[in-house]
C-alpha cells in the first residue's frame, strides 16, 4: 500500500472529517484532501488525481451512494477505490453500496487497525 497516495475524505460534518484524517494519519497517510458533500467531491475529482475515496453515506444534497454511483459511472474514475463509511451495519445501505460497486465499507466508530485492514484488502487485489 502506497502511503503517499492521495485520499479524498468526504463528510458534511467537519469534526468527522478530522477524525477520519486523524485515523488515516495514524496509519501513515499524509496526502489527504477533504470535501464537505458529494457534489463538492465530484468537483475535486474533476480537478485532482485522487487515489482513494473515503466517503460518509449520510450527507445532504449528494449522499455517499449517489457519489459512488457517479464515480462508477464515469469512465475516468470507475475503478477508483471507494470506501463507504456507515453508522452501523445497516443491511440495506451496505448491500446497496456493495451492489453499486463499493470497494469496501467501514462501520463507525472504527479504529486505525480496522480501516487499515480494509484498505489492505482493497489494495491487495
Amino acid at each position: 500500500m502506497d502511503l503517499s497516495m492521495k485520499i479524498l475524505v468526504v463528510d458534511d460534518f467537519a469534526t468527522m472529517r478530522r477524525i477520519v484524517k486523524n485515523v488515516l494519519r495514524q496509519i501513515g497517510f499524509t496526502n489527504i484532501v477533504e470535501a464537505d458533500d458529494g457534489s463538492t467531491a465530484l468537483g475535486v475529482l474533476k480537478k485532482d488525481k485522487i487515489d482513494l475515496i473515503i466517503s460518509d453515506w449520510n450527507m445532504p444534497k449528494v449522499n455517499g451512494l449517489e457519489l459512488l454511483k457517479a464515480v462508477r459511472g464515469d469512465e475516468s474514475t470507475k475503478n477508483l477505490p471507494f470506501i463507504m463509511v456507515t453508522a452501523e451495519a445497516q443491511k440495506d445501505s451496505v448491500v446497496q453500496a456493495v451492489q453499486a460497486g463499493v470497494s469496501n465499507y467501514v462501520v463507525k466508530p472504527f479504529t486505525a487497525e480496522a480501516l487499515k485492514e480494509k484498505l489492505e484488502k482493497v489494495f491487495s487485489k
Binding site: D12, F13, A14, T15, M16, R18, I19, N22, D36, D37, T40, D56, N58, M59, P60, K61, A87, E88, A89, K91, V94, V95, V98, Q99, A100, G101, V102, S103, N104, Y105, V107, K108, P109, F110, T111, A112, E113, A114, K121, V122, K125
Partner: protein, 733 residues
C-alpha cells in the same frame, strides 16, 4: 418458457464463473454477484417462475450475510453459494425436461436456514456491539482530543439548531419526508461522531431518537405532537449534555451529571412501541377507507379495544388541528429549504478574524498617516500621487471585506425565537403567530450573542404581557390569534431590529402610577408618551399585574436597555393602547468600529462616539450660569444642561477655562443631556476601538483607545460613565 430458460442459463453461467473467483474479502466481487442475482431474480419474477426467483433470493441472502460479516465461516458461506448456483443450474436442466424442482429448492432453503431472518438479525446485533466495544478500547478520551471535542461541540450545537427549526416545520407538514430526512440526518451524524469521541450518553440518546425518526421515515410511526415534542425534548437534552461537556472542558473538572437519560430513553422506546398502534390504524383504513367506520369494524372483530380507537382518532384530529397555527410561521421562514441546504463555508476561529480586523484597522490608519506624511511630495510627483490613491482604495476595500467576513445573517438568532414563541404561547394559553422579515440582514458575529438576551426578553414580554388571551382579544374585536412580528433591516448605517405585537399596548396611566410609587417621577403631567414609555427602562420597573412563570420577576426592560447601551445601541418604544407595541432596537453595524467626533482639550485628544453627540456650539457668556446644588449649567434654547469639565475630571491644563471661549459638545445618555467642555472640534473619523488592557479596564469614563490618523493615541469617552463620574465628583489620576 424457452426464452426465459435460455436467458437464465446464460446469466447463471456468468454467475457461476463470478462465484468461483469470489473470495471472502472481495467486497467488489460480491457486488458483481449480487447484481447478477438481481438480474436472475428479475427475469424469473417476470416470467412468473416464483420458485426460481425464490432460489435466487435465497442465494442472494447468503451473499448479503457474507458482505455484512454475519457469517462466522465465510469460506463455508461461499461454498454454499456455489452449491446454490449449481443447484440452480441443475433445476433449470430439469425444468427443460419438464420435471418440477420446487421440492429440491425448498430443501435447499431449509438447509440454508434462510427463512429464519430473525436469527440473522440478533447475530448481527451481537457482532456490532462487540465491534463498538473493541473500538472503544482504543478510542481517544476527552483529554487527548480536546480539539476534536471542541469542534464537535460547536458543530453539534449548530446542527441541533437546524433540527429545532425543522421539527417545527414538521409539525406544520407532518408528511414531508424531506423534512424528516433533514432531522434524521444530523441526529445520525451526531450519533456517529459521538461514538468516535466516546461520548456514550449522547451517542445512546442520538441513536434512540434516530430509531424513532426512522419509524416516522418508514411511515410506521405517525408524526404528531407527542413525537415532535419528544424530539424537541431530546434536542434540549442533548444540548444540556453538550453544554455540560463544554463546561467540563473549560474548567477541566469532570463532573458526573444526571440528565435523567435513562427515563428519557424509556420514553423514546415507549413511543417507538406505538408503531403497533399505527399499523392497526392502517389496517382500519384499508378495511373501510374511513377512520371512524374502520374503528367500528376493528372493535366488532375484537381486534382493538374501543378506547384505543378513540385515542387513535383523536390523534388523527390533533394532526390536522394545531398545524394551521404555525402555518404562516413556516412560510415566513422558508424552513424546508433552510434545513436541506448545505452550507459551504470555511470555519475560522473568531479570534483569528478579530485579530485580522484589528490589523486591517491598523493598516487603514498607517495608510492615512503615510498619506499625510508625504502629501507634500505627492503633490509634486504624479506617479506617487496615483499610487497613493490606489493604496487608499485597496486599503479601504480590504477593510470593507474584512469587516464583512465577520458579518453573519441574523437568521439563526431569529429562528431561535420560533421555538421560544411556541413554548411561551403554549404555556400561557395564548395563540401567537410569528412573522419574520429580513432574516438575511447581516450583523457582526460578535453582536449575535449580545442581542440574544435582549431579544428573548422582548419576545417574552410581548407574548406574556402584550398579546392578550384569546377570549380577551375576541371581546376587543381582534382576531383570537395574536401576531408577533420580528423585523430586521439596515437603516442609515445602523441595524434596526423591530419587535412588534398587536397586543394590549402599554398602559400610560399604570406606568405613571408605578413610577410615582417608585419615586422615579413626581407626576405624569406634561410628559409625552415617549417619555412615559421610556420609564419602563428604569431598573426594577415592571408593569405586569401578575408575575408569571415566564417573565416578570422584577427583571424588566432595564436589562434590555443595559445590554443595548453596552453595544452603543438605542431603544425606541411606540405603543397604542389596544393596538399593540413596537420596540425598535437600533444597533451599530459593528462593535469594532465606531463613528467618532474627535475633540481636543489641552494637549489631549478624545473621541466622543457620534451616536451620543446631539450638537456642539459655543455658548454666550450670558447662558453660562451656576445653579446652587447643581453646579455649572449651560442654557441652550431654554433648557439648562450641566457642564462637564474634562480637565477637572482627568487633571490637565486646558487652553480655555471659559465655556464662551471654548466649545461645548451636548451629549445624551439614558435620555439625559449634558455638555462637555472642549477646546476644539478636530473632525469626524471612523475609529477602530482598542481595548485599554487589564490595568486600565476599570478607569471610569473611558470606553477604549484608538490610534488616530496622525499617529497619536486618542481615548474614547464613555458617555454614561462620564455622567456618573461627573455626578460623583471623584477625580481620576
Amino acid at each position: 418458457m424457452e426464452g426465459y430458460l435460455n436467458t437464465v442459463k446464460e446469466l447463471l453461467d456468468k454467475l457461476a464463473l463470478e462465484v468461483v473467483m469470489l473470495e471472502p474479502d472481495d467486497v467488489q466481487g460480491f457486488g458483481v454477484v449480487l447484481n447478477r442475482l438481481d438480474e436472475v431474480i428479475g427475469v424469473s419474477t417476470e416470467a412468473g417462475e416464483a420458485s426460481f426467483a425464490n432460489l435466487g433470493r435465497a442465494i442472494k441472502s447468503i451473499a448479503e450475510k457474507l458482505v455484512l460479516g454475519e457469517v462466522s465461516a465465510p469460506e463455508e458461506g461461499i461454498k454454499q453459494i456455489e452449491k446454490g448456483v449449481s443447484l440452480f443450474q441443475e433445476v433449470l436442466r430439469d425444468a427443460e425436461d419438464g420435471k418440477s424442482a420446487s421440492e429440491r429448492i425448498a430443501r435447499f432453503l431449509v438447509e440454508c436456514g434462510i427463512s429464519d431472518t430473525d436469527g440473522s438479525k440478533s447475530e448481527a446485533g451481537g457482532s456490532k456491539s462487540e465491534d463498538a466495544e473493541k473500538a472503544g478500547e482504543t478510542m481517544p478520551d476527552i483529554d487527548q482530543d480536546r480539539e476534536l471535542v471542541e469542534s464537535f461541540i460547536i458543530e453539534a450545537l449548530e446542527h441541533l439548531g437546524n433540527i429545532e427549526v425543522n421539527v417545527l416545520a414538521l409539525e406544520q407538514d407532518p408528511e414531508n419526508r424531506e423534512v424528516i430526512d433533514a432531522i434524521f440526518r444530523p441526529f445520525h451524524t451526531i450519533k456517529g461522531v459521538s461514538g468516535f469521541l466516546n461520548l456514550s450518553d449522547i451517542n445512546r440518546l442520538a441513536h434512540e431518537v434516530e430509531t424513532l425518526l426512522n419509524g416516522a421515515r418508514n411511515q410506521k410511526l405517525t408524526v404528531d405532537e407527542t413525537l415532535t415534542d419528544t424530539v424537541l425534548d431530546a434536542v434540549d437534552l442533548i444540548k444540556a449534555m453538550i453544554n455540560h461537556l463544554k463546561e467540563e472542558l473549560d474548567t477541566g473538572v469532570v463532573q458526573p451529571a444526571d440528565f435523567g437519560l435513562e427515563a428519557f430513553l424509556d420514553r423514546l422506546r415507549r413511543l417507538q412501541a406505538r408503531e403497533v398502534e399505527k399499523v392497526q390504524t392502517e389496517t382500519a383504513h384499508v378495511l373501510a377507507g374511513d377512520g371512524a367506520d374502520a374503528g367500528k369494524i376493528l372493535i366488532e372483530k375484537g381486534g382493538v379495544a374501543e378506547p384505543d380507537v378513540a385515542k387513535t382518532l383523536e390523534k388523527q384530529k390533533e394532526l390536522s388541528g394545531p398545524g394551521k397555527k404555525l402555518g404562516e410561521l413556516r412560510r415566513a421562514l422558508g424552513v424546508a429549504e433552510v434545513g436541506v441546504e448545505a452550507s459551504r463555508f470555511v470555519k475560522v476561529d473568531t479570534q483569528k478574524l478579530d485579530n485580522m480586523v484589528d490589523m486591517v484597522g491598523e493598516l487603514v490608519i498607517t495608510q492615512a498617516m503615510l498619506g499625510q506624511d508625504i502629501s507634500g511630495l505627492a503633490s509634486q510627483n504624479k506617479k506617487l500621487y496615483t499610487n497613493l490613491g490606489q493604496l487608499r482604495r485597496i486599503t479601504s476595500e480590504i477593510q470593507r471585506i474584512s469587516m464583512s467576513m465577520r458579518m453573519i445573517p441574523i437568521r439563526q438568532t431569529f429562528q431561535k425565537m420560533i421555538r421560544l414563541v411556541r413554548d411561551l404561547s403554549r404555556k400561557s394559553g395564548k395563540q401567537v403567530s410569528l412573522e419574520m422579515t429580513g432574516e438575511e440582514t447581516e450583523i457582526d458575529r460578535n453582536m449575535v450573542d449580545e442581542i440574544y438576551d435582549p431579544l428573548v426578553h422582548m419576545v417574552r414580554n410581548s407574548v406574556d404581557h402584550g398579546i392578550e388571551k384569546p377570549n380577551v382579544r375576541k371581546a376587543k374585536g381582534k382576531p383570537e390569534v395574536g401576531t408577533l412580528k420580528l423585523k430586521a433591516y439596515h437603516k442609515g448605517g445602523n441595524i434596526v431590529i423591530e419587535i412588534s405585537d398587536d397586543g394590549g399596548g402599554l398602559d400610560r396611566d399604570k406606568i405613571i402610577e408605578k413610577a410615582i410609587e417608585r419615586n422615579v417621577i413626581r407626576s405624569g403631567e406634561n410628559m409625552t408618551d415617549q417619555e412615559v414609555y421610556s420609564l419602563i427602562l428604569q431598573p426594577g420597573f415592571s408593569t405586569a399585574d401578575v408575575v408569571t412563570d415566564v417573565s416578570g420577576r422584577g427583571v424588566g426592560m432595564d436589562v434590555v436597555k443595559r445590554a443595548l447601551d453596552k453595544m452603543r445601541g438605542s431603544l425606541d418604544i411606540h405603543s397604542v393602547k389596544d393596538q399593540g407595541t413596537t420596540i425598535l432596537m437600533k444597533l451599530p453595524l459593528t462593535l469594532a468600529i465606531i463613528d467618532g467626533v474627535m475633540v481636543r482639550a489641552g494637549d489631549r485628544n478624545y473621541i466622543i462616539p457620534t451616536v451620543s453627540v446631539v450638537e456642539s456650539l459655543r455658548p454666550d457668556r450670558a447662558d453660562c450660569t451656576t445653579v446652587v446644588d447643581k453646579g455649572e449649567m449651560v442654557k441652550i434654547r431654554e433648557n439648562l444642561y450641566p457642564l462637564i469639565r474634562l480637565h477637572e475630571l482627568f487633571d490637565f491644563e486646558p487652553a480655555y477655562y471659559n465655556p464662551w471661549e471654548a466649545i461645548v459638545v451636548v451629549v445624551e445618555s439614558d435620555g439625559r443631556r449634558k455638555c462637555i467642555l472642549v477646546d476644539e472640534l478636530v473632525g469626524k473619523q471612523e475609529i477602530v476601538i482598542k481595548s485599554l488592557g487589564e490595568q486600565l479596564k476599570r478607569v471610569q469614563g473611558m470606553a477604549g483607545g484608538a490610534i488616530l490618523a496622525d499617529g497619536r493615541v486618542g481615548l474614547i469617552l464613555d458617555v454614561p460613565g462620564l455622567f456618573t463620574l461627573s455626578e460623583g465628583e471623584t477625580k481620576v489620576n
